[in-house]
Amino acid sequence: MIDPKTIAHIAKLARLEVSAEEASRYSGDLSKALGYFEQISKVDTQGVEPLVTPSEMQPFWREDEAKREFTAEEMTANAPEKMGNLFKVPPVV
């Protein structure tokens, strides 16, 4: 059972503001979904290596070379708030 306290904890981890109405709904939805998902505990997976990506090939590497593809103006063009070419954020220290 995913109680409202757990929902508040997850919302904090996810940096996601949820309203009281949403929290109560998600509590029900998540409990129902996870209750259904419980079935996987029946599968014997002893000694099975988790598969995190379907292509287990060697990823290829390229030289770490700097390329000038974009200007600072282009890279900051979508900023919600900026000063010159800097992103404006709340104080963090």
Partner: protein, 490 residues
């Protein structure tokens, strides 16, 4: 020339041989979008530069340069792909008016081949949905019946293609998002092998499952589009080094001697009678064309929906952490920024920007990855994922291509399932295993329900065996009982 119903290949040939100009083609489709999309809501953004861009292709031809194999083909692009200078939203408020400074590799390669981007197509928010009802820009309607959903998440692509508001589209498929809407709208949709097509510039949902592919009107068009977008990309380290076959040139309707697997678990109970009949009919047709039917089994597919949602939401909760209101997208309005705490800044911006289903999945994924639950949910799901992939490896030792339904039912009514998230998740029962195992799969139209709603059949092949799957699709298309059937919106 019937521009509205011409295939991509036919349009490109006509443009290349100057029978029609790319600009005329773009103009024709622009008018169709203006006239018909009010009913469908398949576009989020219409590209007002389309005719200008088309004119450049005509200039290229006039100068004697090669305009590419898709010269002047009007394309719709699912709004999950970044398009340089053209708004990209993922159907979410959180991306706001995001205008990418670059093209996704898929888009860049198609532009190189000569397409004209007509606009960006609607979808479920962040591709999270199976009905195109979770979009922040409103639900999309099915052109075969406006009371029904077009499927999802690539619902805008499927609807626009079926109604021929474009001549070709590309979509993305994380758990069935190309194949299921293709089936619901009566078009051809291909999800390639994981690693075949670059994910660079595609808004990430679940990175180990996402693949892009064509959603078009014919198998030939699908083969050609796939060929053009496939292949290694230095910007996506999961793309395979493998040589890309000439899918369109090698396309053949000869299925003599091919082994067609019928997956026992996908034919057992719960199927709508018209869906069952459609798959049966495809089996009979393939048999009469000389293919051999063999029964195969992958019993762990029973657990595929839970495994898929545990993995997809876990990956999504991580991928969507980037939407923080700092560098792009929606930022909550705080007035005085210097008085705001950082956590509150993130939480409120995200809480306002994400829609209901996206929040639900972020919550579910965060829970699965949180301390104390990681082993029981995420890690366990990945273990079963390996076993599912192994079962499919065995299946493809016994057959070349698996034939199955795409979905238990034809398109359902708008509003019918949206209030029950779990019921909506169970829609994906026959499509998610393909993504978990990284296999190629596709939907090809092969039936109509009594209510005249399209029904596709699903073909799945082994890793990097798209050609076999496309050939079976071409064989079915040639004898399809629904060839030439069109939605009433046209």
């Amino acid at each position: 020339m019937d521009l509205t119903h011409a295939s991509m290949v036919e349009i490109a040939q006509a443009v290349r041989s100057k029978k029609v100009s790319a600009k005329e083609v773009a103009n024709h489709y622009k008018h169709r979008i203006e006239k018909l999309d009010k009913q469908l809501n398949s576009f989020i953004t219409v590209n007002d530069q389309a005719e200008t861009e088309a004119a450049k292709i005509d200039e290229k031809i006039a100068r004697g340069e090669d305009p590419g194999p898709l010269a002047g083909v009007p394309f719709g692009v699912k709004d999950m792909f970044c398009t340089r200078g053209l708004k990209t939203t993922a159907a979410s408020r959180i991306l706001g008016g995001f205008v990418p400074p670059y093209d996704a590799t898929v888009v860049a390669r198609l532009k190189q081949a000569g397409i004209v981007v007509m606009g960006k197509l609607n979808l479920d928010e962040f591709a999270m949905g199976s009905s195109n009802e979770t979009s922040a820009f409103g639900a999309v309607k099915n052109p075969w019946n406006l009371d029904c959903v077009p499927g999802g998440s690539s619902g805008g692509s499927a609807a626009a293609q079926a109604a021929r508001l474009v001549a070709g589209t590309v979509g993305t498929d994380t758990g069935g998002s190309i194949r299921q809407p293709a089936s619901f709208c009566g078009i051809v949709g291909v999800k390639p092998t994981y690693g075949r097509v670059s994910r660079y510039g595609i808004v990430a949902y679940a990175s180990s499952l996402d693949q892009a592919g064509p959603m078009v009107s014919t198998v030939q068009d699908a083969a050609l589009t796939l060929e053009l977008i496939s292949g290694r990309d230095e910007r996506d380290s999961t793309t395979a080094e493998k040589k890309v076959p000439a899918f369109s040139k090698d396309l053949s309707t000869n299925v003599k001697g091919m082994k067609i697997g019928v997956l026992k678990e996908y034919m057992a109970g719960g199927l709508h009678p018209d869906v069952e009949k459609t798959v049966q009919k495809a089996m009979e047709n393939l048999k009469s064309m000389g293919a051999e039917l063999v029964e195969v089994s992958a019993p762990l597919t029973e657990h595929a929906v839970p495994i898929y949602y545990l993995i997809a939401t876990s990956e999504a909760s991580s991928n969507l952490a980037r939407y923080d209101g700092v560098r792009f997208g929606h930022r909550a309005d705080f007035g005085n920024l210097s008085a705001v705490e950082l956590d509150q800044f993130y939480s409120r911006s995200r809480g306002e920007g994400f829609g209901d289903e996206v929040k639900r999945r972020i919550m579910l994924g965060t829970y699965c990855l949180s301390s104390g639950y990681y082993d029981a949910y995420y890690s366990k799901a990945c273990q079963v994922r390996r076993l599912i992939r192994d079962q499919f490896d065995d299946v493809f030792k016994k057959c070349d291509v698996v034939l199955s339904p795409v979905s238990t039912h034809p398109a359902f009514k708008t509003g019918e399932r949206i209030s029950d998230p779990l019921a909506m998740y169970l829609n994906d029962i026959y499509t998610v295993s393909t993504n978990l195992a990284g296999l190629p799969g596709m939907s090809v139209p092969f039936g109509l329900s009594k209510e005249r709603l399209p029904i596709g059949v699903q073909l799945t092949a082994g890793h990097y065996e798209e050609q076999k799957m496309l050939n079976v699709a071409a064989a079915l298309e040639a004898v399809s009982p629904v060839k030439g059937e069109k939605p009433h919106v046209i």
